[in-house]
Symmetry: C2
Subunit: 229 residues, 2 copies
Amino acid sequence: MNDVRRRKSRLKQPQGRVRQPPKSRDTRGAILRSAEALFANQGLHGTSIRDIAVDAGVPPALVLYYFQTKDDLYQEIFRWRSKALGELREERLAALLRSGTKLDLRQVLDAMVRPLIELRNEPGGVAYARLIAREVSDPSEASRGIIAKTLDPIARRFLQVLVDAVPDLPESKVHWAYHFLIASLIWLMANTGRIQRLSEGRCNVADPEAVIRETVEFFVSGIEGLRRG
Amino acid sequence: MNDVRRRKSRLKQPQGRVRQPPKSRDTRGAILRSAEALFANQGLHGTSIRDIAVDAGVPPALVLYYFQTKDDLYQEIFRWRSKALGELREERLAALLRSGTKLDLRQVLDAMVRPLIELRNEPGGVAYARLIAREVSDPSEASRGIIAKTLDPIARRFLQVLVDAVPDLPESKVHWAYHFLIASLIWLMANTGRIQRLSEGRCNVADPEAVIRETVEFFVSGIEGLRRG
DNA sequence: GTCTATAGTTCGATAGAC
DNA sequence: GTCTATCGAACTATAGAC
């Protein structure tokens, strides 16, 4: 008894103490951040617990003290990160729906694109974006269910808003356009350096505003073009 | 002496025999095909030599008899497959340039899209497409150099043809459009099932002709739309 | 909470019989 | 060419001292 498995209690941190000392050197956070960066760049199977421990500056056993298994750690990164991003995206979507009956295509696309591209402006955001891109592109991700839980619900709602924003276009066309946009966002989030390499600087991938502008502009153009027939 | 490392000689197969018997049960090919499928679905690090051996129905030692290391096997898949695909794409590109001075945007995009989507029509093509998508999306692929060697050269030439086909559009806009198209192709090649899931059948991903038609149509629309300003 | 030490497994790769 | 057997290293995870 006194089972090792009950670790949910640690979610409310110091627990037996009302006020923690100078900030006890956030070990759990350090592990999460190291894991995120390494998983993003080398993948789940390409990263060992030792890699993470070394990067975080802790012994390997401590990694499994905070997160019971490697897979739990992997999942926890998404639980940890997806909350803020999900809420931001919900907010943008709600703002769209609040703004009256007339849905502006450009605004819809901006609301879809901006939160994902602006991930890079926050610490660790580049790694998290890359991790999402990796997970959503992995044919074997279904068993983990991360995408189905964190991304699919809001994706469906954006998709519906997009359909409503272009009522005179057949639904299937809107769906295709949506998936081309999703693909482009994933590609931008993976950010492997190939765009920079092939475009030889003509595409300023480093500037988030430029990326958002070009992306929205192109997909507005594509969708509006389909409307005109 | 009698070094184990000189295996290049096996590239010209039976070697000491002018005519092989009934077709000696192509072991090397079976290993390549199993490896391709497993690497495509589970990744390089997610697949073990034992996995491959079991799938191919041979003992693990035989895998490393034909391919000296796991990484060599991985590389060899691309050397083996990329030849035919590369030549097909070169052909399409050459046909474009032969057809006179006036480059038709729709034909250029078709030449880019079709060979990659039609990969699925050949045996093992789905797995190879998925493998390309995985490799090109991996931030750590640079060390292997596979993309730089097999994909980048022809990508640059298609990019140039596309620029020439839309002379009245700023180069940077053409580059952005090109990368959005590449992203969409990668996403279609990865084929994780998410398009099918989110579109609930409205996008017929299973039909190659439909995929090509929708893709070319949308990107023609996007690029033509930008021209009109 | 943090650490050392290590159990138990699986890995890539090799040796050598046939 | 094909096989069995196995080495040494790396892996995930656990035990237990502090």
